[in-house]
């Protein structure tokens, strides 16, 4: 827990510097909608607190963040935390759905490959896994939209609300993660299947189904849980692209829009939240080892 504080601090500091280094000035962007004098731009910049030196702005941001106040959006003037909390459920929904897709596809491919080691089934599963992991989301997303929305008209291309809106984004995002899960399940499964207790289980005359699902899978899944924690971070990052491709609401869309319009508080706040979620998920993963594998204890 304590170690997460330096992580969060360095992430936010880096992001603060990065967004301020990008070209562009929010006050100028606002007035470019309607015109005004250079004095009006300066006045607006002052009202928004953007005329202060960078270290002062950074100090302000840090002091407020420590008190739990992430400031207000430059463009909407609404509290950043509230804006993020409005969008968070959309992103969590997408990430969880994608995780389910990733684990289901990844585990299935991994087991199928391990049980049919060095056959064409194995090769096929590994190929699918590698392809899934290497396809960029924006590309696979557009392909799915072309096929299922434009051609077949089965699923809506954009929007959200109903389950049908979630199907394509979750598959695209989940597929990208399923590859590494599949490869891990395969190797871990192969390792477990070679263990003596599996031979013992088989010699007891248990069915192959019982051997694989009851005895082997449970132990083979421990490393998968670790990877799920890491993959969750990848999924959160992936939501940025996925939400943009499918024009869904969510933190990804929020942060992309904020970067385009140089809405600093939103960018900083969203990244801080994402980093915090990532840290929390990894903590939960650590704790879950103890539940899955009683040999692991935390003192």
């Amino acid at each position: 827990m304590i170690t997460s504080i330096p992580v969060l601090w360095s992430v936010t500091t880096l992001v603060f510097l990065m967004v301020h280094l990008l070209p562009g000035d929010p006050a100028e962007l606002m007035l470019a909608e309607s015109g005004g004098s250079s004095r009006s731009i300066a006045q607006l910049r002052h009202q928004l607190g953007l005329d202060a030196p960078l270290y002062v702005q950074y100090g302000r941001f840090l002091a407020n963040a420590l008190r739990g106040d992430l400031g207000r959006s430059i463009f909407t003037n609404r509290p950043v935390t509230r804006t993020i909390l409005e969008q968070l459920p959309h992103t969590v929904q997408l990430a969880v759905a994608a995780m389910m897709v990733a684990v289901t596809i990844g585990t299935a491919l991994g087991i199928a490959a391990a049980l049919n080691r060095n056959t064409w089934v194995d090769n096929l599963c590994v190929t699918i896994a590698v392809a899934g992991a290497s396809m960029p989301i924006f590309w696979s997303g557009l392909l799915l939209i072309l096929l299922f929305s434009s051609r077949l008209r089965w699923l809506p291309a954009t929007g959200q609300g109903a389950l049908k809106h979630l199907v394509m984004p979750a598959i695209v995002l989940g597929l990208a993660s399923s590859g590494s899960i599949a490869r891990l399940v395969r190797s871990s499964m192969l390792e477990v299947l070679g263990q003596e207790y599996i031979t013992a289980a088989r010699s007891k005359g248990l069915s192959e189904y019982m051997v694989v699902c009851r005895h082997a899978l449970k132990n083979a899944l421990i490393p998968v849980v670790t990877v799920m924690g890491l993959q969750f971070g990848y999924l959160l990052g992936g939501t940025v692209v996925t939400e943009t491709v499918f024009s869904r609401q969510g933190l990804g869309w929020l942060v992309v829009d904020a970067i385009l319009w140089k809405d600093f508080p939103i960018v900083q706040g969203t990244v801080l939240w994402l980093a915090a979620i990532y840290t929390l998920v990894n903590l939960l993963v650590d704790i879950s080892y103890a539940i899955i594998d009683p040999r692991i204890h935390y003192d």
Partner: protein, 532 residues
């Protein structure tokens, strides 16, 4: 027998009455839900705070303004029944309409007007547009419940124009105080439609205000609006707009790309509603502070080298007129003497460049002076067909020996490059129903003075134009300003903007205000009755 006659007479009469009653409601069927396609999802939608044109499209129907402007530019009573301006132009007295209520039931009165104006200028509001539209506003004084005096620090010719826009629309003080920073999600005005729901990036829904009884005379009827509900949806991708219209996903769609507009205009199921926009045309600012465009002859040569007719035909399908000066032809104060000033003349362009000392010494097709090739750098935004226009320009400049290098950059980066003067050419444009918009671009202190011009006479004309209330004197000032801008070749005008709106055939009564962006949805109905 007699009884039977009476009975049949009664039947006939009641049938007649029924038919007549039916006829009287024929012209404008009540009810129905209209789906209106917006082209950009604005980041914030409080008109007092935010600046986008897109927010005005729905919210013009939610807020009433003190005055309205008819399509000839005349100001007509709105929430103010009448008004007087003091001789010095510093005091405006508004006499307000009685018995007007906000959607939350609170009364509209002079206190509400003062509250709204003070909210706009409050630094805490961080207004991005409205505060600058109010300009030299000093303070407001409530004389009685229905009279308010607005005091200015100096005369402001654009003030009534500003007060007729949604950005200075009248919001319910009770609602603003109740919702605080979240007000933009719960907006309350006095207009013909009430704000129901806004889900960013998804939809914005308005419902009919059943109590609306104070429509200005610019509209076609009185009482509540015809439509029951309007849902605004976002169609950010230009290519999807006409498709959405054709598939029935939307009844009305703004900013249709020219080639789609051309197709829709030939389809009897749809109506194309092109609206010429006042303000500046699409124009390229020519940087007078950076070589080689610091030389007047080079700047003039660039305009002569530009074949605007070809650009308008190829890219804009002749759906928008060629631009000649810094204001579009439908803008107040537009000076038609700019027409024909720089007709396409490549030979003259070459002559001018030669006079300026540029010759093609090495025969590579690009002129040189002192060993340096004649090269201009253009920064472009990715939208508004700017890259396409630049492509044609590049070929047209090449024909007179000028090499144009262009780069498409992100919008914030383009603004920064323009501010720092890294460009020779950069395109831009703004809509505005008042010629005061020229001050933004051509005053030496203008926020977007991208020609980098510092001309004391031009500054004086633009300042005087903003202060002069006499319309004829005002027009003369702006005519001279336009002449100077073109004589100094500060811009390459390309085309006047035309907002290409399209609607399904069943949409009736749709008109747009003088600014060309904001639809008057109060009079709109769907022929054939209900539709949802």
């Amino acid at each position: 027998m007699k009884r039977a006659k009476v009975a049949s007479l009664a039947v006939i009469i009641s049938v007649l009455v029924w038919i007549l009653a039916g006829c009287s409601s024929m012209p404008a069927p009540q009810g129905g839900k209209l789906i209106y396609g917006l082209t950009l999802a604005p980041s914030g939608i409080d008109p007092h705070v935010n600046a986008s044109s897109e927010l005005g499209i729905p919210l013009t129907s939610v807020y009433d303004t003190l005055v309205w402007q008819d399509l000839d530019g005349e100001f007509v009573p709105g929430l103010a029944e009448s008004w007087e301006v003091s001789d010095d132009g510093l005091t405006y007295t508004f006499h307000l309409r009685r018995n007007v209520r906000f959607h939350d039931g609170t009364p509209f009165n002079a206190q509400a007007v003062k509250f709204n104006l003070d909210r706009v200028v409050d630094p805490q509001t961080k207004s991005q547009k409205a505060v600058f539209m109010l300009g030299p506003y000093d303070h407001a004084e409530v004389v009685d419940d229905y009279t308010i005096k607005v005091y200015l620090q100096e005369p402001s010719a654009p003030l009534l124009d500003s007060l007729s826009q949604v950005y200075l629309g009248m919001a319910s003080p009770a609602a603003v105080e109740k919702w605080g920073l979240d007000y933009q999600m719960h907006q309350v005005g006095t207009g013909p439609f009430m704000f129901k729901e806004y889900i960013p990036k998804d939809h914005l829904t308005l419902v009919r205000n059943p109590d609306y009884n104070w429509a200005p005379t610019i509209f076609g009827h009185q009482g509540p609006a015809y439509l029951e509900e309007i849902e605004f949806r976002f169609f950010v991708e230009p290519a999807t707009r006409s498709l959405a219209l054709e598939s029935g996903e939307a009844h009305v769609m703004g900013e249709i790309p020219p080639q789609d507009a051309q197709r829709l205009s030939q389809d009897p199921d749809f109506q194309l509603i092109p609206v010429a926009l006042p303000g500046t045309p699409l124009m390229l600012f020519v940087n007078t502070a950076r070589p080689p465009t610091d030389d007047l002859k080079v700047r003039q040569a660039l305009i002569y080298a530009t074949d605007r007719e070809a650009i308008v035909a190829a890219i804009f399908k002749n759906l928008s007129p060629v631009a000649y000066g810094p204001l579009t032809a439908v803008t107040l104060g537009y000076d038609e003497n700019v027409v024909g000033l720089y007709d396409h003349d490549p030979e003259l362009a070459k002559d001018l460049l030669q006079q300026a000392g540029w010759v093609d010494a090495n025969g590579d097709g690009v002129l040189e002076k002192d060993g340096q090739p004649l090269r201009v750098e253009a920064y472009l935004m990715s939208w508004g067909f700017m890259p396409e226009v630049a492509q044609l320009l590049q070929a047209q400049f090449k024909a007179v020996g000028v090499e144009m290098q262009s780069q498409v950059v992100a919008y914030p980066a383009a603004l920064e490059a323009a501010r720092e003067g890294k460009h020779n050419l950069i395109p831009f444009s703004l809509s505005s129903s008042d010629p005061d918009i020229l001050r933004t671009f051509f005053h030496s202190e203008g926020g977007f003075n991208w020609a980098k011009v510092r001309d004391p006479r031009l500054d004086e004309l633009l300042e005087e134009g903003a202060r002069t209330l006499d319309l004829e004197k005002r027009k003369a000032l702006y005519a001279e300003a336009q002449r100077i801008i073109m004589a100094e070749a500060l811009i390459i005008p390309i085309r006047d903007y035309v907002n290409l709106n399209a609607a399904q055939g069943q949409v009736k009564g749709l008109r747009y205000d003088l600014r060309g962006w904001f639809p008057w949805l109060y009079d709109v109905y769907l022929a054939g009755g209900r539709s949802d």
